[in-house]
Symmetry: D2
Subunit: 240 residues, 4 copies
């Protein structure tokens, strides 16, 4: 389960996977649930900069395209929202443990250090999942300016490799108090960037922010292409 900006190193498990399944060639790499993409890269950037996070409470406002063309009847999306998406909360709470895990020798070890609670809502938006995130740090809490600097400076292997589909800035912070908004921000960097805003103190945990990503680009087709570009450059894929 791959988000190239976060766990590109996990592709090293591919030979292990092939061996375990008795495959000579071929392997399985998947992209995570699309709503996770709206907030996990900003969270990972902070962890990678030395600020581990211990708890997050997330409420998502997810686009209808996430359920497919026939997924959500318009009777549910005119003058309405639905505060439930089957299976989505569990995935949002468990997939980050895999994505943030690490390889020890030939074993994969999940990272369960962040406890996550997710409320997943369906809203009348075509594309773009929004996430309202409250987070608490395990130890020292960075200043607001530090958080913004870390996000601004964040790049990873796809940027360094200049993969064609990689966003130039994986995390774009918007200063306006009412952004990100799905229709206005989902297409940032061809829909491949995560757009973040509203970083502010939290009276319960340490910080709150709003994250947004394009669920059918970054969260699906575009994310799949970026995965393939990474695997190709790492030598796991060879042209026919």
């Amino acid at each position: 389960m791959l988000i190239p900006e976060i766990n590109h190193a996990h592709t090293a498990m591919i030979p292990q996977q092939q061996k375990a399944r008795g495959w000579k060639r071929g392997f399985i790499v998947v992209k995570p649930n699309c709503s996770v993409q709206s907030y996990l890269t900003p969270v990972y950037a902070l962890q990678a900069a030395g600020y581990p996070i211990s708890a997050m409470i997330i409420a998502t406002l997810q686009a209808v395209s996430g359920a497919g063309y026939n997924g959500v009847p318009s009777m549910d999306m005119v003058d309405n929202i639905v505060p439930y998406i089957g299976g989505e909360e569990q995935k949002s709470e468990e997939e980050p443990h895999k994505i943030l895990g690490r390889i020890e020798g030939d074993r994969f070890v999940a990272d369960t250090s962040i406890r996550i609670s997710a409320h997943c809502n369906r809203v009348p938006v075509v594309d773009g999942h929004t996430a309202c995130v409250s987070m608490g740090f395990a130890g020292k809490k960075p200043s607001r300016d530090e958080v913004l600097s870390i996000w601004k400076a964040f790049t990873s292997l796809p940027q360094q490799m200049k993969l064609p589909f990689a966003p130039a800035e994986p995390i774009i912070y918007r200063e306006e108090e009412n952004r990100p908004q799905p229709r206005k921000d989902r297409d940032a960097d061809k829909g491949m960037a995560v757009v973040v805003g509203r970083l502010r103190e939290c009276r319960v945990f340490d910080y709150r922010f709003v994250g947004l990503s394009h669920n059918t680009v970054r969260g699906a087709a575009g994310g799949g292409i970026l995965n393939a570009e990474l695997l190709y450059r790492q030598g796991y894929l060879t042209p026919a």
Copy 2:
């Protein structure tokens, strides 16, 4: 600031208010911010039953009528949500301290024992504010069945006085996994009940639930009438 099911006793401060302002007659009673109504009665019911709450993280999905007829341009509400409502988060975090406060002698003492963090979002819904609530108890945690029993049994002075605008059941719990929904549930008991659903464990705090109330009925006109009915029955209002 009055929610009759919660702090009807606060009207006892009226003589104090009149004295402090040198008024012979007349007084000021207000209704709280409409989004608070979606979750504070269920929370109060638990506290009143002996389960004090210490922390809550809330994400609201609020209807456009809350901002008035010209409040939200349609350009912001077609294929979009806005993750910001000016002043709303602070009100959501501070008003409960007043509503849950108590009178000691002739003094009013706010109850700041619940730390609250609110994310307020505007969504394309005409009426009905939805709240996704995660809550942690200060001490002992009730079982899920106990919570449901407390909510089901909850009534208060407006019900006992049989005030005409009082909902028969102030808290209605719906068992369906995808409820409450604004268009389908906002009119419960003429729009005066709070409709609650999705009570479930939380991996970060103790429980999560979704609350909903009709912001222009319970949260505004109807709530104002209920306040007036209470004040009349308590003898603070006399017919002209």
Copy 3:
């Protein structure tokens, strides 16, 4: 095919229908397509008052409930309209000929004197079909005041019989320049009235107006009940 305010006399064909099908008891009475209800009663009222109409061009803006719960995916109704509803235009053009027909002896004769052209569109509205109608009279054209008087005065057998589901005024005219609107007008007289507005001259035909009716009340369940009430009072239905 019955709209009780228009063709209540057609129930006289029931014995004929039973005979033709060899039925001793039982018969089939249907309600017309729901969008026809938005404009046919006002048109009939004019014809009944001596102003036959020869041509109508109609564009409908129809609610999603008309297609059933799963009928219209939300992907088609967020930031979109669909200028097509399968089979609807033909029904809108042909059903009025049956509803406006007459009984001659034991024969039913359709009235094809109005040529009708319909454009049917699906719009993101839960309930309430709106119709923009342009109409030309076969002969003399009534004045605008006459049209309004005819509509205001119109009642029919269901009103005279005081059928419980019959709207007191089958045609309600609103003077505001921007009405009728589906969310604001569909529930007029419990959803059983047709709400009309914007009567104005037409540069191509004689007059234009906008009609609206509640498609799942007047156009379905409520219309069916009114049919049953009429049949019961006419002696075609007997309690079990």
Copy 4:
């Protein structure tokens, strides 16, 4: 009032306009009302091919961006449509007479040969005005195939001049029975083409079709640029 594909010849009136107003330099060229763009180019193409039209009845479903950011409150566009846009119907009925007019000597003569009746509706769509058009020919009626061929072949001066903003095909016909749709078709050829569909017989006039254009691109900013490109190439504009 200029639609470059239709009345590029009208710029010849500029010297006349300058003379009449006593201007040595400078002139006024405007773009027409944005909803007219959705259907006038296809109609003009037929007239230019020798099939003059005598009457049109049009119902528009217009996007909220046409009214500006604050133009339409969301209270009117959630579960609703508004069957009225101030001044729009008159403009839709009269502007085509100017656009289709001709220059005789030094006089401009409006072409009032098409009688037009327009119903203008506001719908919850961000961008893209849709028009349902019924039209009758003054004389001979082309076959359906002829209409399609005329539209497919239609180009005009902006295409011949290869103006940068000119759409390659000014009229794009879609064969699917449920197109054009605003969200799916408004961006055709960078939002500069008119997308047409559903050409079919009409029981009242000769043909019906649905037209769509992007109101803030073709109908505003992009249309203005195309006007400027034309004027520059015709020598009316000189760089500063």
